[in-house]
């Protein structure tokens, strides 16, 4: 865009801005940086950017009005008003001058037409550019499209254009005194030749007949039959012969034929409405299909395949997984169609499809996914479903790079589903140096379950990072599997992990839990657990094991002696509580027996346990 004069203050070159206004301009440009930053980060209707925009615009428009416009020169890292530096980029994060400069903008100007609406459009444009919204990579193109009232800019191209002398074409040609005649070798002027052959009767007749133009248009100088083959190849069918003397002349025929009718207005509307529906993705996919299906030369076919791969990669980079997936679907369709005509080309498509799931390709998608939290897990899963087991390693690889939780979940779901037969590939993640990759692999392995997966999970039990060990517990707990593995974490050095393991165990199915608790109780480290944990474990054991637990618990009570210590007393009391939770007949008999004991304390504990048991079993006495 070339800066328009009406945007400029009438006499800006001599118009000296008062120092206080210069300072205000400088402050405004600093505020502009902040405002662009805030506007870019926050949603449009958030009160913070709205307020900032309003206050900035008010001050800025006042200054423009007071100064009758503003013309700012852009340098690499500074902005000048006349010869004064009014803004200098302070950091790389907020490069106002650089943003314009790198886009090739050398001047920006604001006229008195610049108003609040203009400011809003300006900020919207800058936001699109700063956030690199789709198709918003070129600031100059964006500003042009935005058509901001009262704002204009000048680019390097404009400057070149100003200096670009279209007239050089004139200099190249040989101007002579006659002005528009080429110098012929003979030096003779050929102007009169033009009139030599125009004395045909047709001219005269037509002039008399119509009173308008002659019927000789296109004749004389041109041969209408030239390149007949070319015309045919271009799709032109032979036109009727030129009109003779008795027919109206060509110009009149054309004049009538090309007059617009009232109904043409509807056609324009229909075209505009139809064109507004143009879907760039759909049309690109259709185009790629048309191209590949029209190929009959192996080199061209390969070339087209490379083109398709390039386009597909671009869609991936933009995070357009649905479209990228559709391109792959189409390749599968094309592969099917080629089975009869070019079976040898099918392999190339298969190779291309495999390549689409390669590490290199899938890594392309990561930045886009991290940029776009709006992409759903279903979309990601749906895209990954295009790939076979060959992609499992690459998919596992990207797992650690994804920033959004729901994206990681989706990949985990995919790997859990697709990796069941290829656990060795997926389990590589367990040995990754990054804790979060290990954690994700743990999730997947826990989802898959089975002996092989459990063997890899065992390796994760000793991982340095507690978050990995916690994930083992969570993963297994969710799937109600691997209680024995969780039980091992009951002895973890980290209390949070121990606690989580214990809680997870209690949520497990009866059988899984019983085995696990039995192992814990039988472990020599059982006594090292907290008393509450031990008591809970004994109670759970008693509940789950039923009459099988009675003998074991009775043993704690019968160990009573004169020199009974505090620990033994704890176990005695815990054993009674555990028996109180045991609904077997055998437990009741044991408790009744102790209820008649000569030992007052045993009687009291047994009575209390019986009461609790009845409460549990019958809801009261």
């Amino acid at each position: 865009m070339i800066i328009q004069d009406y945007f400029m203050p009438d006499n800006q070159s001599s118009n000296i801005m008062p120092p206080e206004n210069l300072k205000e301009l400088s402050r405004l440009l600093t505020d502009l940086v902040k405002t662009i930053k805030i506007v870019s980060v926050y949603p449009e209707n958030n009160p913070l950017p709205v307020k900032l925009k309003e206050s900035f615009s008010e001050r800025f428009i006042n200054l423009i009005t007071e100064n009758s416009g503003l013309l700012l020169k852009i340098n690499r890292d500074e902005i000048r008003y006349q010869n004064e530096v009014v803004h200098k980029d302070k950091s790389e994060d907020e490069p106002l001058a650089q943003t314009f400069h790198n886009s090739g903008i050398t001047e920006i100007s604001f006229s008195r037409q610049f108003n609040f609406d203009s400011a809003n459009i300006f900020f919207k444009t800058m936001k699109a550019f700063v956030n690199r919204e789709a198709g918003a990579g070129d600031l100059v193109a964006l500003l042009w499209q935005s058509d901001i009232p009262g704002f204009d800019y000048c680019t390097v191209e404009d400057t070149i254009l100003r200096e670009f002398d279209g007239g050089m074409m004139v200099q190249e040609s040989s101007l002579n005194d006659s002005g528009f005649f080429k110098n012929s070798d003979s030096g003779s002027i050929v102007y009169s030749n033009i009139f030599i052959d125009d004395n045909s009767s047709a001219v005269t007749n037509d002039l008399k007949g119509t009173g308008k133009s002659s019927g000789l248009i296109g004749s004389g100088a041109f041969n209408p039959n030239v390149d007949a083959v070319a015309e045919k190849q271009m799709g032109f069918m032979p036109a009727p012969p030129r009109p003779g003397k008795s027919l109206p002349d060509t110009a009149l025929i054309l004049n009538d034929a090309f007059q617009m009718a009232d109904s043409d207005k509807d056609k324009a509307e229909a075209f505009l409405l139809d064109d507004a529906q143009f879907d760039m993705h759909r049309s690109t996919i259709n185009l790629l299909n048309e191209i590949i299906l029209s190929e009959d030369n192996p080199n061209e076919f390969n070339d087209t395949l490379v083109t398709i791969e390039k386009v597909q990669s671009e869609y991936l980079r933009e995070g357009q997984l649905n479209i990228a997936g559709e391109i792959l679907d189409n390749l599968v369709m094309v592969r099917g169609r080629l089975s009869k005509t070019h079976p040898q080309w099918q392999e190339k498509i298969t190779a291309a499809l495999t390549m689409a799931g390669s590490k290199e390709k899938l890594e392309n998608v990561v930045p886009a996914l991290n940029r776009r939290s709006d992409l759903t897990g279903e979309t990601i899963e749906s895209y990954l479903n295009h790939f076979g087991w060959e992609a499992l390693s690459a998919v596992t690889g990207i797992l650690g790079e994804l920033e959004h939780h729901h994206h990681r979940e989706a990949v985990c779901r995919y790997l859990s589903r697709s990796g069941q037969e290829h656990i060795d590939i997926i389990a590589r993640g367990v040995f990754d140096r990054r804790w979060f990759v290990v954690r994700n692999s743990v999730t997947i392995l826990a989802n898959i379950g089975g002996e092989k997966a459990m063997s890899y999970l065992t390796k994760a039990l000793g991982h340095d990072d507690a978050r990995v060990r916690l994930q083992v517990i969570r993963g297994l707990s969710e799937k109600n599997k691997g209680a024995d593995l969780i039980a091992r974490l009951v002895w973890d050095k980290d209390e949070v992990v121990r606690q989580a393991a214990m809680e997870a165990l209690y949520k497990m199915d009866k059988e899984e839990l019983l085995n696990a608790i039995t192992n814990i109780i039988n472990d020599e480290r059982f006594v090292s657990l907290g008393t509450a944990e031990q008591e809970n474990l004994l109670i759970s054991y008693s509940r789950l094991a039923g009459e099988q637990a009675v003998a074991y618990l009775t043993n704690f009570i019968s160990k009573w002696g004169v020199t009974r210590n505090q620990a033994e007393e704890f176990y005695q009391e815990a054993a009674f509580k555990a028996l109180g939770n045991n609904l077997s007949e055998k437990a009741e008999k044991v408790l009744l027996k102790f209820n008649h004991s000569w030992n007052k304390k045993l009687r009291r504990l047994a009575s209390s346990a019986l009461a609790y048991r009845r409460q549990l079993k019958y809801g009261g006495n």
């Binding site: 789709a134 254009l161 528009f180 002039l207 030239v226 054309l254 617009m260 505009l272 690109t284 299909n289």
Partner: protein
């Protein structure tokens, strides 16, 4: 050289206020055509319009709305509509036109009640039974004093550009045109080397052409008549771009789509860069094998665009257009479509622009130029089969039967170059008379052949500059012949 700047006299583009005011007025007109003045919907629209009107009137005094050559100006600023707005505006201004009204000037003293009365009067008139004079009388009867109705004639003969301004615009047009050629060349050379292409330059040059066309399309169209730039298709591509954009502007495409159309046109033939140089440069007529090769260029073009340019709306459109621009309206042509669906609007436009330029320039396929009228005659006979009839009509209505830059011999033994087309009479353009049998005039004479005063000057025939050793480049490029 003086820097080329579009300065004070530049055709100003309407701002947001003008857009808002005119859109609200047209909505109000539409509403008034269906409901009476007491309807709540009408009252809401009326209130909105009056606020916008008052704001503008307070700032600018009188508000003028003029329809000139189908374009709408508010306070002498050109208004660009989106597609919906354009449809609405056109249906209303067409009615005005039928009444003989070429524009309306509102006085700032006009109050809300008078606005309502006026809008209802105009919206409910029986168009076929009324004319401007009757409307003026009705305004007087109703006591509406602040509205002046301009006659269609007032605007149609009013020059938009001064001659001084036109000189400036022609210079800018030249700079933009040649810059476009050089950008096409840059891009094609990079494409030939299979390098990635920066689209920024190309988009910007298209934007410059659009800016230029919005104000003055003639200066660019006449540059398309220069035919001898290159053996490849750089100038041809630029010509097609200019033609396509003029059609797009008339069709009412918004800025964004115009940008995509221009870009598509600029690179519709990019596939030719992948063809053997010998084929492109071949001086003789193509044989069957040559044609088979040549017919690969749409596919090669689409692939080149998809492969060497970053994928976005511009390139997606350009790829489709490159692929489809030789597919006919009846879906014959090449490449052969697997899925028989109508071609894209851009492809229809570019197919017409491309065929016209290719045949009239005599460089691309046809080895000898055909006169523009003969090309149009050939194209006319292909309407509906090869080309979309409506777009072809639109195209001819823009460039005329004798496009700007065409050399003509007149019945007065004068040599003239076409300056601009007359939409009302495509066979009688505006011309610049360069000289007569005795030699060139010291200063060219500008005349409009469609005016009665020039009835003595008939067009005898088109002159092929090459045949008579006339350097059309000098005529078109030199300021002397403006």
């Amino acid at each position: 050289m003086e820097p080329v700047r579009l300065e004070k006299e530049r055709l100003e583009m309407a701002g947001r206020e003008e857009h808002e005011m005119i859109n609200l007025l047209f909505i109000l007109f539409k509403t008034a055509q269906y409901v009476d003045a007491n309807n709540s919907g009408y009252l809401t629209q009326s209130a909105k319009y009056c606020v916008a009107f008052r704001r503008m009137a307070d700032a600018q005094g009188k508000i003028s709305i003029k329809v000139i050559d189908g374009r709408i100006f508010v306070c002498d600023k050109l208004v660009r509509f989106d597609s919906d707005g354009m449809v609405r505006a056109k249906s209303i201004t067409d009615q005005w036109h039928q009444l003989g009204i070429g524009g309306i000037v509102f006085d700032d003293s006009l109050d809300n009640r008078q606005i309502d009365k006026f809008v209802h009067l105009l919206a409910t008139l029986k168009i076929n039974e009324s004319n401007r004079e009757q409307v003026v009388q009705r305004l007087i009867d109703l006591g509406i004093e602040g509205v002046t109705l301009l006659a269609v004639e007032d605007n149609s003969h009013k020059p938009i550009l001064t001659e001084e301004r036109r000189v400036l615009l022609r210079r800018t047009a030249r700079a933009n045109f040649f810059r476009a050629i050089s950008v096409v060349e840059d891009v094609m050379v990079r494409a030939a080397q299979d390098k990635e292409i920066d689209l920024g330059k190309a988009k910007r040059v298209v934007h410059s052409l659009i800016d230029q066309l919005t104000e003055d399309e003639t200066s660019l169209i006449e540059l398309t008549s220069i035919r001898d730039f290159d053996e490849y298709t750089y100038a041809h591509s630029t010509n097609v771009c200019v033609y396509a954009l003029t059609i797009g502007v008339r069709l009412g495409l918004d800025k964004n789509r115009l940008s995509q159309l221009g870009f598509s046109a600029l690179f519709h033939d990019i596939g030719k860069i992948k063809l053997p140089g010998d084929l492109i440069r071949k001086p003789d007529a193509y044989d069957e094998n040559d044609w088979l090769q040549m017919q690969r260029h749409p596919i090669l073009g689409a692939k080149t665009i998809l492969r060497n340019m970053r994928h976005d709306y511009h390139t997606a459109r350009a790829a489709v257009t490159a692929f489809e621009h030789h597919i006919n309206e009846d879906l014959t042509g090449y490449p052969v479509l697997r899925k028989k669906e109508s071609t894209n609007l851009f492809s229809k436009i570019i197919a017409i622009a491309d065929s016209f330029d290719a045949m009239s320039s005599g460089r691309v396929y046809i080895k000898k130029a055909i006169s523009p009228d003969e090309v149009l005659r050939k194209m006319m006979y292909q309407m509906t089969v090869k080309f979309d009839a409506f777009i072809l009509k639109l195209f001819v209505n823009i460039i005329g039967i004798y496009p700007a830059g065409t050399l003509l011999l007149l019945s007065t033994d004068e040599l003239a170059v076409v300056a601009a087309n007359n939409a009302g009479d495509l066979s009688r353009p505006q011309v610049r008379i360069l000289g007569n049998r005795s030699g060139p005039y010291a200063q060219p004479i500008n005349i409009n052949l469609s005016l009665g005063e020039n009835d003595n000057r008939k067009i005898i025939r088109i002159i092929d500059p090459a045949q008579y050793n006339i350097d059309i480049k000098n005529i078109i490029l030199s300021d002397k012949y403006i």
